[in-house]
Amino acid sequence: MDMTAFASKRFLVPGLVSLILLVLLATSPLYISSYNVILLAAILMYIVLTVSWAFFSGPTGYLSLATAAFFGVGLYTTAVLGKALPLLAVVAAGGLVSFVLAFIVGAITLRLRGIYFAIFTFGLVELIKHALLFWEITVTGTRGRFVVLVGNNTIYYVVLGILVLLLLTVYFVRRSKFGLAMQSIGDNEDAAAHMGVNVTLVKVITFAVSAFFIGAVGAIMATRWTYIDPYVAFNPLFSFLPVLMAIFGGLGQFYGPIIGAAIFAYLEELLLTKFPYYYMLIFGIVLVVVILYLPDGLIGLIQRARQRWQKGGLTGKHANT
């Protein structure tokens, strides 16, 4: 087989699978129940959060727990601007506000390394939550806000659009010069700096881009909540779930976080509806088992199975000859 055929086959199969999946997802509201549309939208939202988180934290190795902060900023942007602007403009605004916030916070804090950065980003969630509470109590005198309502299908399509945009961004950035710089920072930041990589700039931009998508998805999901206050919007669970989902799926590969988030989110819903009393217990056990026995996540498991199968296939051929 010559190289071009090999290369095109390598890109053709995943490309075709993605296209079929996209068509299925795009047409699904036509033939599935509205409950399932809502469920799918929630799953897609988790995929956006997880992939955005992994986009920054995966290659650079900086553990960010700020996801809930950017998500909450998105939610609040819709609560504030929802009535004043058209929906897509509100979603873009949610993303942009998060982007700017992440840019400023990143520029100040991305010189912190390891655990200090993780703690700071988590502190950011609490900081914004309490700053908003203070503002609402002392300035506006009301707590929480009502959010404009939007049809389920609209929410679904906007989330799907954000996801497609995010996946394209991640795919092309990872293959670019910029992706190489991100990876070199994760491997050895000092060496990267000495090889001419402007490490601070790369980290801050990546952090801000990941925050853009988190904020945008927050902005659209706000319309599902009808009422939000700082406690609802800045729920620390949204910082931890993407991390768990990414580890569950496997961080090494492009599609690890996607599969992890999809299965994890579905599992959560399934357990919550089928076993409401044991849901957290079963969930906890599944997580512990995955982290103990699947260090590379589900993707690692799939790869090992495939390797074993290929080896088996080869020895089988040898036996025939």
Partner: protein, 239 residues
């Protein structure tokens, strides 16, 4: 012509003077050795030149341009590349990608992808690693990891190369190859400033040697002069 000049370079770690008032220069095209007992401040001096650490006082000039206060990536793009005492390769990336980081980001002018790839491959060829380009860097032997560090530094097209203990941990054959490589690089027009503990390597390749002890420059001269210098001999033999 002087390519690098240091004027009263000083660095404190807490109350300890890691370097005090070190004045030095490197001529273009020279191979200069930097020796001294452990803790003499050799790597600290490299860290100040490459921008890894801020300088407390004194100035360092590269081609008559002050580089103290610049960030490591800026200094690298000006044409100063380095290797590290403890190898700092990008372990999870293929060998070629390691060099590509250098040619993409570290060169004085930015290059197209094709040019950067060519530059990376050329630098790998120079150190004899082009056959291993697809292997993850962590799977290389120590000697090859050190070669990779050199290749990665070369990919940034440096005029001055700082080599921090290139020979440490290499066997006799590998060391001979490394010495040959250093001379070859100089013949290509790259100025070399190298820290070395292996005396044979230093004496055989350097045009000039600087000796640091407790953060101060105690001697400077040709290998022959240094070998006969009484202070240096005292420091090394602990008289």
């Amino acid at each position: 012509m002087r390519i690098l000049e240091g004027e009263k370079v000083t660095k404190y770690f807490g109350g300890l003077a890691a370097l005090s008032n070190v004045t030095f220069h490197i001529g273009k095209g020279e191979i200069v050795g930097l020796i001294g007992p452990n803790g003499a401040g050799k790597t600290t001096l490299f860290n100040l030149i490459s921008g890894a650490l801020p300088t407390k006082s004194g100035t360092i000039k590269f081609k008559d341009e002050k580089i103290t206060g610049l960030k490591p990536h800026q200094i690298c793009r000006l044409g100063v590349a380095r290797t590290f005492q403890t190898v700092k390769i990008f372990a999870n990336m293929p060998v070629l990608d390691n060099a590509l980081v250098g040619s993409f980001f570290g060169t004085p002018t930015s290059m197209s992808s094709a040019d950067a790839a060519r530059e990376a491959i050329e630098s790998l060829e120079l150190v004899g690693l082009s056959a291993a380009r697809a292997i993850p860097a962590r799977d290389l032997t120590l000697a090859n990891q050190k070669r990779l560090e050199v290749a990665r530094a070369l990919a940034t097209k440096p005029e001055l190369l700082l080599l921090d203990e290139l020979m440490a941990g290499l066997n006799q054959t590998e060391m001979a190859e490394a010495m040959e490589l250093v001379t070859e690089l100089r013949d290509k027009g790259i100025t070399i400033f190298m820290i070395e503990h292996v005396m044979k390597a230093i004496m055989g390749t350097c045009d000039r040697i600087m000796v640091l002890h407790h953060g101060e420059k105690i001697a400077e001269g040709t290998p022959r002069e240094i070998a006969k210098n009484k202070t240096v001999v005292d420091v090394y033999l602990g008289a």
